[in-house]
């Protein structure tokens, strides 16, 4: 297996010798893949979020609704293009273009597979690579910020301007954390080129556990877990995705930087956002998840890392990373802006710096003491990980102790268990209360009416189980009300 892998693994010398039509083919192929991935990611996101919210999601256009985003894209292209009266016209026009172009460019250094044969030409499945490969992605994401910042400024309107100010601060800060998280990978791989980072994750680590020999994982996500976690958090901020989507927080800023945009210009922003998501997912797969190499149970098969098969493993990893993005969006509420910035600067960046120090020290020590990576992982990494886990467990238990005590006492019948004498509270602001409604003090927490008729779930109705509405309880116990009354 290793012999085959070595033969197919492209090195830096393999790039830059392609015939012109192969280069053209690769460029067009990457463009097509990115557009298709965007269309897929939008439908995928809508369907996954719908499932998480007990809905069905788009299911009308095309087979099982999978052509929905194609229809939406076509619709978007035919909408009216609006130029606001106060807009700065050249910049307003350029901003979506500036956002979209770097998004496409960044994918050119992502390795999609090993050396394959295209119409008889041996060529790596990667447009190009350079000694600074990963830095190209960073540079492109740095340029992409301009699109968003300029869009908000050029719109000549308040909300977009606020959105673009937020995004400028946010992306600059989170790019630092992202760059620092990658440094440890560079240290381990000994290279910044994407194809060589994939090669560095090719062979498993030989672990020697008291005479017991086995092959450990060589993915950098396992070897450098802290880097991986910081990278994942930072790229969510970098791509403006929920829960870090403050530049376009629709409940605060209408639409943020793209409030004034419509038609194809808006479509370009949408395209750029999803391509950025795909790119950072692909970069996560490349840097931390072994790139196009097959994951463990499949890699036992000798042919897994040859020919066109790696394309499949690669895109499976990308889709898994996309799912995490969507999962986060479906689960977490948006952060407050100051908390978000504090988290970036006071938690992510210092953690990344300390981690780089630790990794560099371990590298030096293991080189001086002549230890293998596997030994270091076994004798230092595992105990350290156990220590951190124990610490986290203790911390979370002590953080939740108030809640647990309160819950236990509440279940024993007490109300305000930890606070028998509530502290002096600020006077309640004068608020209008609907006449006749009971106050909170009278036990009148807003509840739905007792005889609320809930329409049956569409899934139940499809099975024909229950066509009529059902009277449901509102989840309040009569005894609880009495206790609350007694408390006041």
């Amino acid at each position: 297996m290793n012999l085959w892998a070595a033969a197919d693994q492209p090195t830096l010398e393999d790039f830059g010798h392609d015939v012109w039509w192969i280069v053209l083919l690769k460029v067009v192929g990457i463009f097509g893949v990115l557009v298709l991935m965007t269309l897929f990611a939008i439908v995928f996101e809508r369907k996954v979020v719908a499932r998480m919210q007990q809905r069905i999601g788009p299911n009308r256009v095309g087979p099982r609704g999978y052509l929905q985003s194609l229809a939406d894209g076509l619709k978007l292209a035919f909408k009216e293009d609006i130029m606001p009266a106060l807009a700065d016209k050249p910049v307003y026009f350029l901003a979506p273009v500036i956002a979209a172009i770097p998004a496409f460019l960044a994918f050119s250094v992502i390795p999609l597979g090993p050396t394959v044969s295209i119409f008889g030409e041996r060529t790596p499945l990667q447009l190009t690579d350079a000694p600074i490969g990963v830095l190209v992605v960073l540079a492109c994401s740095a340029m992409g910020v301009y699109g968003i910042v300029l869009a908000g400024w050029a719109s000549g309107s308040t909300y977009p301007l606020l959105g673009s100010l937020r995004s400028a601060a946010q992306m600059v800060s989170y790019e630092i954390a992202m760059g620092l998280s990658i440094v440890a990978v560079f240290l381990y791989a000994g290279s910044m080129s994407t194809s060589e980072i994939v090669a560095a994750q090719a062979d498993g680590n030989q672990l020697d556990f008291f005479g017991l020999q086995f092959t450990g994982p060589s993915w950098f996500a396992v070897l450098l877990p802290v880097s991986f976690v910081i990278y994942v958090i930072a790229v969510v901020g970098e791509t403006n995705r929920a829960p870090f989507d403050l530049p376009e927080a629709e409940s605060e800023l209408v639409g943020g930087f793209h409030t004034e945009y419509s038609s194809l210009k808006f479509a370009l922003f949408f395209l750029a956002e999803y391509i950025n998501m795909v790119t950072v997912s692909a970069l996560a797969a490349t840097l931390f998840l072994g790139g196009w190499r097959a994951p463990w149970p499949i890699s036992v098969w000798d042919g897994a890392n040859t020919g066109w098969w790696p394309l499949l493993w690669f895109f499976l990893k990308v889709v898994a990373a996309l799912f995490v993005f969507i999962w986060l969006r479906g689960t977490l509420p948006r952060l407050r802006y100051d908390q978000f910035m504090r988290f970036g600067w006071k938690v992510l960046v210092p953690t990344a710096l300390v981690w780089i120090l630790v990794v560099a020290t371990m590298r030096t020590v293991s080189r001086e003491a002549d230890l293998s990576t596997g030994q270091v992982a076994l004798f230092v990494g595992v105990p350290a990980a156990l220590l951190v886990l124990a610490g986290l467990l203790l911390a979370s238990r002590s953080a939740n102790s108030d809640t647990r005590v309160m819950a236990e006492q509440a279940s024993a019948g007490a109300v305000h268990a930890t606070d028998p004498e509530p502290e002096v509270l600020p006077p309640a602001a004068a608020r209008r209360r609907p006449a006749g409604a009971p106050s909170r003090a009278e036990g009148g927490f807003p509840v739905p009416p007792m005889d609320l008729k809930v329409p049956p779930s569409p899934r139940l109705r499809r099975e024909g189980a229950d066509a009529g509405g059902a009277v449901v309880g509102t989840g309040r116990r009569g005894t609880a009300t009495i206790e609350e009354d007694g408390d006041v």
């Binding site: 830095l135 910020v145 400028a168 760059g179």
Partner: protein, 274 residues
């Protein structure tokens, strides 16, 4: 390329890139000086910096090119833009000179400075032996830079970082506002206070789906037609505003009760059962 090779051969690709991007970089520089709007100036500068970054890459210094784009165009110019946007978008330069003769003096001094620097560099590098790229970075661009940075120029490197950190700490000290610890309520305290003292722990209701007027003074309507006075913003007297007529029959717009499914769920359900 051997050391001291006088006839340096420039590849076709490099020449093409130079003749395409050279004018672009120059146009950016001129545009930066000549445009009235500060943000446009910044954008022209970004244009020049990008062109310079590409030049570095073409001249076999890929790391320098990438750092030029990431650090200068990506971070520093974004901060410039940040400040310019805070200043406001209508603060274009005034055409009136505030200092008499300012432009002439600036032009003369600028040209003089450029001449001095150019002549100085030309003199200093006149008889410098050319080592050639192959010798300067035998093991590649990045290891060569790393070796120089961490051996020969280590002191300069560290002093620069100390300078930058001092500047950052100084800016923070100047901008910092001392606050008595505990003088601000935490989010937890605020939330407790809101839940324990008020009748409405959640936010106030919005303008309302059923409102028939496009005015902040018009309260929202409840589905049964009553008004919801809490939706009027504080500071606005609730008043009688001109409203669109309410739909009276199911023929006109459909009954709001039917839309909620509380009164008469029959139409929605029978359609599904066929």
């Amino acid at each position: 390329m051997t050391p001291g090779d006088a006839d340096v051969v420039i590849g076709t690709g490099e020449a093409v890139v130079f003749w395409v991007l050279g004018p672009v970089a120059l146009a950016g520089a001129l545009g930066m000086v000549l445009s009235r709007n500060a943000v446009h100036s910044a954008l022209w500068l970004v244009n020049t910096m990008l062109a310079l970054g590409v030049f570095y890459v073409v001249q076999s210094a890929p790391f320098l090119g990438a750092v030029q784009i990431i650090v200068y165009t990506g971070a520093i110019m974004i901060l410039f833009l940040f400040v310019l946007m805070l200043v406001g978008r209508d603060s274009s330069d005034s055409v009136v000179e505030t200092l008499r003769g300012q432009r002439v003096a600036a032009t003369v001094l600028g040209l003089g400075f450029a001449g001095l620097v150019g002549a100085g560099i030309a003199r200093a590098t006149e008889d410098l032996p050319v080592a050639g790229l192959g010798d300067a970075q035998a093991e590649g661009n990045i290891p060569a830079i790393a070796e120089l940075l961490f051996t020969r120029y280590l002191l300069a490197f560290e002093v620069t970082s100390a300078l930058l950190i001092t500047a950052a700490v100084g800016a923070m000290v100047l901008a910092h506002i001392e606050r008595e610890p505990g003088s601000r309520q935490t989010q937890k305290e605020l939330s407790r206070a809101r839940f324990l003292t008020s009748d409405r722990p959640q936010t106030l209701p919005g303008p309302g789906v059923y409102a028939r007027a496009n005015s902040v003074a018009a309260p929202a309507l409840l589905p049964d037609g009553r008004t919801l006075d809490e939706t009027v913003a504080t500071g606005v007297e609730p008043q009688e505003v001109q409203q669109m007529p309410r739909p009276t029959g199911r023929e006109q717009l459909g009954s709001p009760d039917a839309a909620l499914g509380t009164l008469d769920p029959a139409p929605a359900d029978s359609g599904e059962q066929r």
